[in-house]
Symmetry: C2
Amino acid sequence: MKKSKKEAAETRQRIVKTASAEFRRNGINGTGLSDLMAAAGLTHGGFYRHFDSKEQLVAESCAAAVDSLVESLTSALSRKTKRSGLEVVAASYLSKEARDDSSRCCPFVALGSELVRSDETTRSVATDGFLKLVDLLAAQFSRTRPDVAKARALIALSTMIGAATISRMVTDPELSATILRQTEKHLTEA
Amino acid sequence: MKKSKKEAAETRQRIVKTASAEFRRNGINGTGLSDLMAAAGLTHGGFYRHFDSKEQLVAESCAAAVDSLVESLTSALSRKTKRSGLEVVAASYLSKEARDDSSRCCPFVALGSELVRSDETTRSVATDGFLKLVDLLAAQFSRTRPDVAKARALIALSTMIGAATISRMVTDPELSATILRQTEKHLTEA
DNA sequence: TGTACATCAGTGAACGCGCGTTCACTGATGTAC
DNA sequence: TGTACATCAGTGAACGCGCGTTCACTGATGTAC
């Protein structure tokens, strides 16, 4: 049953990609390794050929989630429109579609309070990921002093992450929509 | 071993209060009923004399956490200072002390992404709690149209919740402090 | 007011279950000669 | 290039553990007469 090195590398990548979606969808605690491996088309026994522990996969899939978010934001930003960079990013964070598609959303929105309780390595990976997002957004504030741009980006991201989290938690659909709308308006008018 | 009605009611209250701290400290999934009951000075078997399920306790302790937060904010706001209401609230959300004391912090910061995955009842309780905080903060924006004050409060709370969550997640102490400081500055200068 | 009895808060053992992890095994892959 | 053998990706059963929940039991409380 042994697979070639190339196949094994593809399998590993598939597990990380699946995990990055499943963790965001069902939470870290809510995603068992058996279900996760099944979702990747494998049985659970093979997991430890690729990873030392579940926590290691959490860290890697958090990094993968950030990378795919950065990629999708970069691609949206490269489509030249009349909208500012911040408008594009805010629309991506604060649309109803993003709110309802947890498997593809920002990992800090989907997993925020779970990441806070993750181990040092995972939190360190999450920190790097957050800084990547800060840099990406700060770069959109052209003609602004770098330190000011970074502060603005940091605040805008915190605001979007908080608003997106609350908009998911709330049971009243109207309130949820209001949170998204008002926050987007606030960010793009300032 | 039966206790009087008064004692039983006190016990129930003690369990909710303990849970409200323990859930915030260790997360909902990270807090087992045995440990929780032990922390309240009881054995786990008695739990179901007071609650139908763990989830019911989650809902009640979320409400209790919001109530105690509202109380502590109200008390801080009533101490007349030169600071505006928003300044007082922001200081309370974004101080290092608040960041490091998870058992007493805002439940949306401590449990955000876990509450999103909780059941309808819990999320409904959380929604009511969020609206209480919105109203409390909106009331601080005097001489402002009520709908504008509510929008401002909603955005300020989202920002504080997002920033506080990220400041806890991040491994770099300097970055964590910067997030708190810049966000507080941003909120109180606007 | 006193007595007999039902109630029920709290105990601690036990339940089934799913979790993360381990392991013996299979058989295709990769390597040494 | 062909052959013998070591490697190891993936399988599926099994492990111990802690979880939420249930239950028989105890004995003080509360109630009916």
